[in-house]
Amino acid sequence: MSTYSLAIHGGAGTILRTQMTPEKEAAYKAGLARAVAAGEDVLRQDGTAMDAVTAAVCALEDEPLFNAGRGAVFTTEGAQEMDACVMDGRDRSAGAVAGIFGPRNPVRVARAVMERTPHVLLIGPMALQIARDAGLPFEERDYFFTQARWDALQETMEMRRKGQESDDPARRHG
């Protein structure tokens, strides 16, 4: 019998200390702690690594501070398109979806692709159909909207119009 291990991330980039308030830092750390706890709860009860990473990522997708699920960024057309993937180390089985909008937890749709189809990566209407067939919850547009992400899109588009978009690596980060 092995011991369990779990690691999570909520994104990276130019997370400037000068822009981080104690309140924001505490909120981010609380969100991270909830995701670690969600994954560890599974492992502590002899659950599988696949169930643990799914639970941890669902917790992060439900947290509007992070760029996935609720809180996802916007495209140039003001839409949200989400991508997700799971991979199982036992046999390299994998499932993924790209460019979807509607399912509350895209990672669960990726897992449904792995478990319910012979394919690895699905896009478009069939990806959403797989989610419906699996009975996964969907949400309306308002659920995914966050003012901070909308403001970030407007700021970026304005900088592009003025030819002022910076080379800040954070702008290229997921």
Binding site: G13, I15, V53, F66, G89, R171
Partner: protein, 135 residues
């Protein structure tokens, strides 16, 4: 982008990653997240990896599977392999970001080449940890 990697008590590894992409991306743009071997990878014999960062570069350098290949063919430890991919392969080619990774032995590596990465980890019998900056 968010992600998780785990090893369970049976010794099995898994990885998951989810993202909204990048702000003001072109509609239809897909990054490394949903591409096994780039932003997400798991193989019991080596490691499980989830990435976050400049997706196009993670794709070109197949970041996740490259870490596993270094362990498999060069005999590197997880941390040696992950550090090389993040701090050299990605960093030297304008690929900012980082990865979280767990090896078959349960060891954890979380290198990043930018100012911070929101991250957390726990190992059985130890207290959970969360961090944003290097300290």
């Amino acid at each position: 982008t968010v992600g998780a990697v785990a090893r369970d008590r049976a010794g099995n590894l898994a990885a998951a990653t989810s993202t909204g992409g990048m702000t003001a991306k072109l509609p239809g743009r897909v990054g490394d997240t949903p591409l096994p071997g780039a932003g997400t990878f798991a193989e019991n014999a080596t490691c499980a990896v989830s990435g976050t960062g400049h997706g196009e570069v993670f794709i070109r350098y197949t970041a996740g599977s490259e870490i596993a290949a270094r362990m498999r063919f060069l005999g590197q430890s997880l941390d040696e392999a992950a550090q090389h991919v993040v701090m050299k392969d990605l960093h030297d080619h304008d690929g900012s970001g980082g990865v979280i990774a767990i090896a078959h032995d349960g060891s954890i590596s979380m290198p990043f080449n930018c100012e911070g990465m929101y991250r957390g980890s726990v190992r059985e019998g130890e207290a959970p940890q969360v961090a944003i900056y290097r300290d």
